[in-house]
Amino acid sequence: MNSYYEASARERLRLLLDPGTFHEFLPPSERVASPHLLQLDTPAAFDDGIIVGKGLLDGRAVLAAAQEGGFMGGAVGEVHGAKLVGLLERARDERPAAVLLLVESGGVRLHEANAGLIGVSEIMRAVLALRSAGVPVIVLDGGQFGCFGGMGIVARLCDAIVMSEEGRLGLSGPEVIETTCGVEEFDSRDRALVWRTVGGKHRYLLGEADALVADDAAAFRQAAIDLLDTKPDLSLEALTAEHERLGGRLERFGACRDALDIWSALGIAAPEKLPLLEADAFRAAVAGKRA
């Protein structure tokens, strides 16, 4: 078993796609690094922390991008963002079976905050344009740094999200909330609380993650293959339905203070046991109970 959580972005792509099929665009040898980091005397990576390219998944052509959390927490800078936008636009030209986004990001890279913020906005627009053109975008989220900030919004713009329980998805990271609002609001050192608030299992229960898999690259691969035939739907009907779901969530769970309250309200008998369950047992335990 290969841990997806521990793997680097490059290893994840290698493990996810059909062996030997990945071809990288703007590889490290092109040295398209961030000039802004260098200007601030901060080490830069030859790929600016994102690997973009094409390959085959189960024999079908896909484009893929993988963010490297080990470099600046996967944060989006000018080059990093532009590489992803370019890939999404390329997908509109090439129309692959899908675009795979192996997200791992704290959001905007502060060293180039304006470029990063605008870059994220361009990624958002490009994802929406691509989906409007009928190409599905599938997100994989199981890295060590989670998926936060603008990339957290991007992930939810896509067609489907695959998470492991180690994966996290949110907007403001727990440390940011704790620093700003105090430890009473969010104790970021209480990792059990962090994971049940933004972790994969909660996202799966809320219906935000479409698949919850074990921390195994092969499981991520299989889940991505299973989602390849997702058809993007940004119709009024689809969004109206989504709107009702989100409204229902506010009504049902808006007063809940903790994920355990939500899980309990979903009719799960022993919600406090959920975090301990392995992926298979967890899916079985919550079958038919997801929001």
């Binding site: 521990e6 329980e165 050192r189 209480d190 059990a192 994971w195 972790g199 301990l276």
Partner: protein
């Protein structure tokens, strides 16, 4: 006619002053300050139970808040200064003199107050020395201790973290002292009695359960491939070589890596049942896979570890447990066991000099020793033999006309550079400078070079037992010191010669392929894996979870 009963009468006078406050032995939390004022007198020797893990935090707060006009110049005799309150008592003028062992978390503040002459340090001890002095010349007049529960007769149940409580109470109670215990709850019937009620004078239920720190949990996710390589070298180059069967591990990621590759790497070398069967060790979660794999036969512990309670309870053949099923630890006993009954100690350090002396002292911090020197020192009083002990002794004595005896294996395991490129090997220990600035009698050396048998780095193992001259010893150390200035300063020819003689052994000399040193060798790569390995019995503290 000499009065032979001064201490007992003093005790009676103090108890009489406190009598109106107590109902039986019980004291209300609100009356604790009054109690302390009643039983304490200026200049008293006081032991405030500060352990490695559990803390008498409520009593510490109360002591620090006393009026220094009334209670002052106390002489604190306690093993660990862990809480801010342990320093507050000096800062506020309640206490003025200190004898202790370890002050890790408070080392910086301690150094400041010593510098400002607000604390006079008697001595910095190892645990066994300090405990020893409790029975010789540092017997407490008043002990403020900590337990999980008490009954109304004052019997104490310490729970798994017994730690220092028995030794403190014994020394105090049998020399006419006064013992006050803070407990989390007062119950009708205790699960078991760890301290007899007859030795305890007062009990107080603290408003909050006592603080306890999970100090011995290392997240396998943070173990590097370099540490895996070093762990492989430890097992193949030392444990297998000597047949190390009884041992103690210092705490750290290096030693956690050893524990975690026992079921994989050591198993593959056919070492199960031959090494690592008996331990003096806290219940390290990282040991779970080795226990489950059948490597381990017994573990006696200094203290417990948060989250391990149910696992320990379910493995009574391995751990020392009471009739109630929960663990009984005992720091004094385990230190003695580690010193006399173990064949090997292995641990990390911050600095090693050219003679092999090692120190964790840094400027501006008086951190003390704790227990490592008791583990990491040859037991000169040992007389029983074991294969590992005999082999080490033979190596140290070969070719010299000495009467046969054994020697303990004391291994210092360090990466040549710590984080931020701080070299672990130095010409001169920072301890010298600390000794000068803090006016100490001796530089604070954690493990003396003469006790060190092996130094293990990512570059190789230096067997100091085999060195015959100071020069050989120095070159053996330089020969594993990597790219530190000490390492770069080696005599290359001499180092190659030492390697030919097996005094220095590189991974390739041991038949270890560095490419095999990956995290895949770890029997658990995450805390969740440890929970899995325990069959769900290990319940890690929240801060170590990512689920």
């Amino acid at each position: 006619m000499r009065d032979w009963n001064i201490q007992a009468r003093s005790r009676q006078a103090r108890l009489a002053r406190a009598s109106s406050l107590a109902k039986g032995k019980e004291i209300g939390a609100a009356d604790v300050a009054a109690l302390l004022e009643a039983v304490l007198e200026p200049g008293d020797r006081v032991c405030l139970e500060g352990n490695n893990q559990k803390q008498a935090d409520f009593l510490a707060r109360a002591l620090a808040d006393l009026d220094p006009e009334k209670i002052h110049d106390l002489h604190m005799v306690q093993s660990v200064l862990a809480l801010p309150e342990h320093i507050d008592v000096f800062e506020r003028g309640v206490a003025s003199k200190l004898d202790f062992s370890f002050s890790g978390p408070q080392a910086g503040r301690l150094a400041k107050l010593v510098g400002a002459h607000r604390i006079k340090i008697g001595a910095i001890h190892t645990y066994l020395e300090l405990f020893g002095r409790y029975f010789v010349d540092l017997t407490p007049r008043v002990a403020l201790v900590c337990a999980q529960a008490a009954d109304r007769a004052g019997n104490l149940y310490t729970g798994p973290n017994t730690e220092d409580t028995p030794v403190i109470v014994e020394a105090t109670a049998f020399k006419s002292g006064i013992v006050i215990a803070q407990v989390n709850e007062i119950v009708e019937t205790l699960p078991r009695v760890d301290i007899p009620g007859g030795w305890v004078d007062f009990i107080v239920q603290s408003p909050k359960p006592h603080f306890i720190e999970p100090l011995f949990t290392r997240d396998p996710a943070q173990i590097s491939e370099i540490q895996v390589l070093m762990a492989m070298m430890a097992i193949k180059g030392i444990y297998a070589e000597y047949g190390v069967d009884r041992l103690n591990h210092g705490i750290g990621f290096d030693t956690a890596a050893i524990e975690l590759i026992l079921p994989t790497y050591a198993q593959s070398l056919g070492l199960k049942g031959k090494i690592c069967r008996h331990w003096a060790l806290n219940p390290h979660p990282a040991l779970i896979p080795a226990i489950e794999a059948g490597f381990v036969e017994s573990v006696h512990s200094f203290g417990s570890e948060l989250g391990m309670e149910a696992y320990i309870r379910a493995r009574p053949d391995i751990f020392f447990t009471g009739a109630d099923g929960s663990m009984r630890s005992n720091r004094a006993m385990c230190q003695a066991a580690g010193h006399y009954a173990c064949d090997l100690f292995i641990g990390s350090t911050l600095q090693i000099d050219l003679a092999g002396n090692s120190s964790t002292a840094t400027l501006g911090r008086i951190a003390g020793f704790g227990g490592a020197p008791n583990m990491g020192a040859d037991a000169r009083g040992r007389r029983h033999a074991s294969p590992a002990w005999l082999k080490a002794g033979r190596e140290a004595r070969a070719g010299r006309n000495l009467i046969p005896r054994g020697q303990k294996l004391v291994v210092q395991m360090v990466e040549t550079f710590r984080e931020h490129m701080q070299p672990a090997f130095v010409e001169r220990l920072d301890a010298w400078e600390l000794a000068e600035t803090a006016n100490m009698d001796l530089p604070p050396v954690m493990i003396y070079g003469e006790d060190v048998s092996h130094i293990l780095t990512e570059e190789g193992i230096a067997n100091l037992l085999l060195c015959r001259t100071d020069e050989e010893r120095e070159q053996a150390i330089r020969g594993v010191a990597g790219y530190t200035p000490v390492g770069l300063g080696r005599d290359k020819a001499m180092v190659e010669n030492l390697r030919d003689r097996g005094i220095i052994r590189r991974p390739e000399d041991l038949g270890i392929d560095k490419r095999d040193a990956t995290r895949d060798l770890l029997a658990a790569r995450s805390v969740k894996d440890l929970v899995r390995a325990s069959g769900g019995l290990y319940d890690p503290p929240k801060r170590f979870r990512n689920w």
